[in-house]
Every structure is written in structure tokens, then in C-alpha cells.
Amino acid sequence: MSKVLKRAYQFLLLSYPTVTRTERGSVELDTLMEVSRPNRVLPRFGEARAIVVEGIRERVRRNGGTTVNEVMASGGTLGVLFSFSLQLWWVGMMLAKSSTMKADRNQAGTVFSAWGLIICALMIWWSLRPSRFTLLVWQLANVVGAIWMVRFVRDHAAGSNGLDTVLIGMFLIVSTLVFSSGIVLNCWSRMPKTARHRLGGKHAAVAILVPMWASTYGLKYLNGAFSGWVVIGLLLLSLIDPRILIGLSIALLTPAVAMVMVISTYGSGSLSTKLTFPGMCLGVMVLLWMRVRVLVRRTLASINQV
């Protein structure tokens, strides 16, 4: 009976980094066994949750050398590299006066989603074992992904339709409001006290949900089939380390925005769309960067509290 309980605790302790398990795993396990009642078969829910949460906090703390700025810069670098190679392709095609230069968002989306999965895997690896080498591999994979993508999209014709443009426009306006003016956030503070308490952690929710929404919307715009998986993946990643989420969101959001820009510029669309889209996208990117940086910093500060 207690063997089952011990195994359950050992399994839960796997949420800790190996170093921590080596340092204090046996002492903690023995104390857990000592504290639990003799007839207990499985860990209490509260105890199990505390072990997993502490394990995640410990993982975040162990990676303390990687700052939010570094992660954001890496995510941005990836995104810019990806977007730049994409733009270069179309410029090259335009200069060559090719008749097959239009983008196909379905084909592009498949490759983009595959690229998203590669970034997810590399992001976890890099976050848990940050080094120059993994960063280099990550960036190389990005370039390879970009080449792969342009190969897939080069021969397909498509353009954005009216509904997508309206939805993206609405998203840009709402996210700009949320991140810049604070109007939306201030609405919460006027709610009754109990309701506000129930909605606690609104800043964390905004920090996590909005970039996630932006990234997944970008993916959905390109290919809906993979967006569900990406949402699940991002939620799981946010449990491991908020820095993974922010780096990932930026790495995905930048090329997604670039794709929208490319399709709206080179595909069908009105002149006003072509002119306003790039500016709006850039503005939102800057706002996201500024706002999320502060929120993630606050979250990390609370994690590192004694």
C-alpha cells in the first residue's frame, strides 16, 4: 500500500529538475511519507499540486540566467529571419517577373504549422538547456524552415478574402486597446470586489492569452487544422516557463504578421488595405513587445519570491 504511495510521490517528483531531485529528492520523499497517514493509498490533491507547482517553479529558477529580454530577442530574431527570407523570395520573384509569385495561404499554412512544431520543440530544449549551440541550431532550423516554406508556396496562387481582413482588423484594434490605453483593463477594476477577486490574475491572463491568441490566429489564418494543437501546446508550454511562451509567441507571431502582409500586398486586396496593414502590424508588434515584457517580468518576480 505504501509502496504505491511512494511510487506516486516519486512520479510527481519528476516535475523537479534532475539536480534538485539529486539534492533533496530522498529527504523530501521521506518527509512526504512521514506526513501522510498510514492508510493513505494516493497523494492528497493539494500535496500533489504543490509538488508539481514547486517543480515548475524550480525549473524556472534554475534557468534564471536566461532573461526575458534574451528570450524575446531570440524569438524576434527568429521571426525576423523567417519573415525576411520570405519577403526576399517574393521580391526576387517580382524582379524576375515570374507569373507564379502569388502566395497560397493553405500551402503556406501547412509548412508554417510544421515550422511551429519545430520551434516548439527547440524552444523547450533551448529553455531547459540554454546554450549558444542550441540557439545556433534553432536559428539554422529557422532558415531551413523559411526556405522550405517558400518552396511550397511559390507556385500557388491565392489572396486574402474580405472576412479575414475584417477579423484581423478587429483583432488589431482590440489588442491595441488592451495593450496600450488600459481602457479594457480598467473596466475590470470597476467590477464588484468579489467578482474581481474571482477573476484574479488578470494581468497574467492577458500576458498569456493575447499573444497566444495572436499567434494562433496567425496560424488559423494560414491553416485552421493545426491551430488547435498549437493552442494546447502553448498552454502546456506556459506551465513549464512563461519565457518559453513569450519567445514562442514572438517567433510565431512575426512571420504570421509577415504572411498577412505578404498576402495582402501581393495577393488581392484594396489599396487602402495594402497601405495600412504593414503599419498597423508593426505598431501592434511594438505594443505587444513593450507590454508583454513588463508583464512577464512581474510574473517572474513573483516566482522568485522567497
Partner: protein, 121 residues
């Protein structure tokens, strides 16, 4: 008394405060610390083991507590921790800060009650 450091005082969580308070009674091990913390909080707080060891690690990292001994009792590994001078100072500062806060809030409440009773009269 040493002047309190607002930064360190503000960064002390309830679990860290309870661990420091429990160790003020003398060096002890994890299981006993949980019992002492429960006693100090009048049964309100039962520190989860994972939270306790995480807190102990962080407090040790900041030299507020120290590992006194490590032994095996009845086949179970036990580590005994003790408060350092720094930890004692932090506990004193935090207690003073909270007492000050309690006094201030009590004064505000007294004033509010007095004002209400005047209005009722």
C-alpha cells in the same frame, strides 16, 4: 533594533515567515517544522512538503537558515535546519513590520467605529 530593510521584508512570503518563526524555537527537521508552523498559525496553515522544501532551499540560498546535520533515523533521511543571525534579523524585522501594520489598521478601524457611533447617535 536594526533598521528594517523594506525590500527583504516585502519579499517574504507567508510560508517563509512561518518557517523562520518555527525555527526560532530551535533547530529542527522538515516533519517537525510542518507541525510547528501549524501550531504557530493555530492550525490555519499546513505547509505542503514541497512548499516547505522549496522555501527552505530559498532561505538557505540567502543565508537566512543553515543545514545543521543530516542523518538517517528509522531508515528515513532527515535534515536539521537552524536559523542564522541574518534569518533571526529578518524574522525580527518582518514581525516588527507586521506589528506596525496591525497597529495602524487597528487605529483606522477604531476611528471608523467611533465615527459610525457618532452618526448613529
Amino acid at each position: 533594533m536594526k533598521k528594517s530593510d523594506p525590500k527583504s521584508a516585502a519579499a517574504l512570503s507567508e510560508s517563509a515567515y512561518l518557517v523562520l518563526a518555527a525555527l526560532a524555537a530551535g533547530p529542527t527537521h522538515g516533519y517537525e517544522l510542518i507541525a510547528r508552523a501549524r501550531e504557530i498559525s493555530s492550525g490555519r496553515v499546513t505547509l505542503p512538503v514541497a512548499t516547505l522544501y522549496g522555501t527552505l532551499d530559498r532561505l538557505m540560498g540567502r543565508d537566512h537558515i543553515e543545514l545543521v546535520s543530516e542523518e538517517v533515523v528509522d531508515g528515513r533521511a532527515r535534515r536539521t535546519y537552524a536559523l542564522t543571525d541574518g534569518g533571526q534579523g529578518l524574522l525580527t524585522d518582518e514581525t516588527a513590520r507586521m506589528s506596525q501594520l496591525v497597529t495602524a489598521v487597528a487605529a483606522v478601524q477604531r476611528k471608523s467605529l467611533a465615527a459610525r457611533s457618532v452618526l448613529m447617535a
